[in-house]
């Protein structure tokens, strides 16, 4: 077990209701868990709590058996890598420099990169199929290339857990599937991954388990078959939906139009 969250509650100061209430989550190596739910359901809050970026009022979060709050940032970065939803930089970084930032937590303030660091960067570039872009400037990349570069940077951290926050928001269908295939390969090679996504139909085909949040509470958790139920999803998303099986058997959600 890499990550274990038990009965986690988060209450922002001044907010009328808790942003998260009694949420459980467990993640092991070689497992892809999808985190889904309507806008404002607490997905981002949960991710930030899991990364120790905000204080948890009740419940416990442990990473490798140690409470998350006791992890120094630099040590945490060598175990968990986050690909944030949005990211902009005013400067014109080269792709290999950007991926090299994944080594920050392992480098001294002024010491140059070692052979080990350079190897990790080169491997990460190759695994994400962006080796050919290494000398390009990041602002010249397409949306799909930029996402793969950011995943390469996360891999250069050599983490055991990869967290992706809505990684395909601005990608077209082909690039979106490419990205999920990439994450799928990384998980098959032993990484644990938590993917926050609105793309229920896609995550239902890649995730081993899903966690569906609604208004800060767990609406459903378990295999895609257990979570992707029409009645439940209609309730959570406040819109009538049907669930139909694909030829491979995976459940797919289809929103219905109201009868006129």
């Amino acid at each position: 077990m890499i990550l274990l969250a038990k009965a986690v509650s988060v209450h922002y100061a001044g907010a009328p209701a808790p942003a998260l209430q009694d949420v459980d989550l467990a993640l092991s190596a070689g497992e892809l868990v999808a985190l889904a739910g309507p806008n404002g359901c607490g997905k981002t809050t949960l991710v930030r709590a899991l990364l120790g970026l905000l204080p948890v009022q009740r419940g416990s979060i442990t990473l490798d058996g140690r409470p998350i709050a006791t992890w120094p940032r630099a040590e945490l970065a060598q175990t968990v890598a986050l690909v944030p939803q949005r990211e902009e930089t005013p400067f014109s970084w080269r792709v290999d420099e950007m991926v090299g930032f994944g080594r920050y937590a392992r480098l001294g303030a002024l010491s140059p990169m070692t052979r080990d660091d350079r190897r990790a960067v080169a491997e990460s570039l190759e695994r994400c199929d962006v080796g050919a872009l290494a000398r390009r400037r990041v602002e010249t990349l397409s949306g799909g290339e930029w996402q793969r570069v950011r995943i390469a940077r996360a891999l250069a951290q050599e983490p055991s857990l990869l967290v992706l926050d809505e990684p395909t928001t601005s990608l077209d269908l082909g690039h979106e599937m490419e990205l999920f295939e990439l994450v799928h390969r990384l998980v098959r090679d032993g990484l644990a991954a938590l993917v926050v996504s609105h793309q229920l139909n896609i995550v239902a085909r890649y995730a081993g388990r899903m966690l569906l949040l609604d208004q800060g509470r767990t609406a459903a958790a378990g295999t895609p078959d257990a979570v992707m139920r029409a009645e439940l999803l209609s309730q959570v998303f406040r819109w009538p939906v049907s669930v139909v099986p694909l030829e491979d058997g995976s459940p797919q959600i289809v929103p219905r139009r109201p009868a006129s």
Partner: protein, 322 residues
């Protein structure tokens, strides 16, 4: 490495030009002889006036340039600079108050100015993060301008109400200049500037990460809050000491980082030392120009840096709004 050597050469050449120009025309041979021997003719001018002046201009230029580069990474905006963000104005107002009230002296005024600079940057930061926690680059520049205008008018008020005899001097000081440079001011500046400069050189990798934004920086292992505080404190101190010894010289922190990022890339391990050398050389040349263009009258050096900096600022602003 090669770029650093070229910049070292540039800085040295700039200092040479600075040594050869002055109110009193001295032939180059006389200047070199005076540098080597304290008894040579003209030695008093060369060793007690020109040398400290060139050194001070170089150090102040380097400090303001490094502050600019660090602030640009911190607020993730190539328009940032100690002057644009209002730090210079806050430091200047505090320094003027201290001088008008006769408190502080040569060693105390920089510390008072430091507090003024911190207050100003704090205010600018508060103003530009009203809507949520996101820092809008455009609002940031606007807030800096507002705070600068405010401190500027308060400075004018303090100067008007204080001793009329000192008014002209204080007015010149306000526009920035090195005519009061001495070995003492070089010493004061060096003592205060060495620690923040070393801290910023050492924070090069942290600056790289800060430029990506808080969430990416933290997830890559940076203690972002601590790094931000360090950069604020170090740049405010460098700006304050600069203002205390030579008044308000604007835009120095804008020019070299912009030019060098294009040549060397944005990585701060290379950029920060390069900016130090280039900005130092730039301010020495600006000072040389300021005192020779309308001889025997000296132009405030801040006028020269503004003539170069404002057009660049305009170009960068246009680009950032695109």
């Amino acid at each position: 490495m090669k770029a650093l050597l070229w910049l070292l050469l540039f800085a040295f050449a700039a200092c040479l030009v600075g040594m050869l120009l002055g109110a009193v025309a001295l032939p180059p041979a006389t200047v070199f002889r005076a540098l080597l021997s304290p008894d040579a003719p003209g030695a008093a001018i060369v060793r007690e006036i020109r040398l400290p002046r060139v050194l001070l201009a170089f150090l102040v230029g380097g400090a303001l340039g490094v502050s600019g580069a660090a602030l640009q990474a911190l607020v993730r905006n190539p328009l940032a600079d100690p002057y644009v963000l209002g730090i210079s104005g806050g430091a200047g107002l505090a320094a003027v108050l201290a001088m008008a009230l006769g408190v502080g002296g040569a060693w105390g005024v920089p510390l008072v100015a430091f507090l003024g600079g911190l207050a100003a940057v704090g205010l600018v930061y508060r103003l530009s993060t009203v809507a949520g926690s996101r820092l809008d680059p455009r609002v940031l520049v606007l807030a800096g301008v507002i705070v600068s205008a405010f401190t500027g008018s308060l400075m004018a008020a303090v100067l008007t109400l204080s001793n009329a005899e000192q008014l002209r001097n204080a007015f010149l000081w306000l526009l920035g200049g090195f005519s009061a440079a001495s070995w003492r001011t070089v010493l004061v500046f060096s003592v205060y500037a060495v620690l923040p400069l070393l801290l910023l050189f050492g924070a090069a990798r942290a600056l790289d990460l800060l430029s990506l934004g808080e969430e990416p920086a933290e997830s890559l292992g940076l203690e972002a809050l601590r790094a931000r505080r360090l950069v604020y404190l170090a740049t405010s101190l460098l700006t304050a000491v600069s203002v205390a010894v030579c008044g308000i010289v604007g835009f120095v922190g804008l020019i070299a980082p912009h030019a060098l990022r294009g040549m060397l890339g944005p990585a701060h391990r290379r950029l920060v030392p390069a900016v130090f050398l280039a900005s130092g050389g730039f301010l020495v040349l600006a000072d040389a120009l300021a005192r020779s263009v309308a001889r025997p009258t000296e132009l405030p050096v801040g006028v020269v840096t503004a003539l170069v900096g404002v057009p660049l600022f305009a170009v960068l602003l246009k680009r950032s709004l695109r």
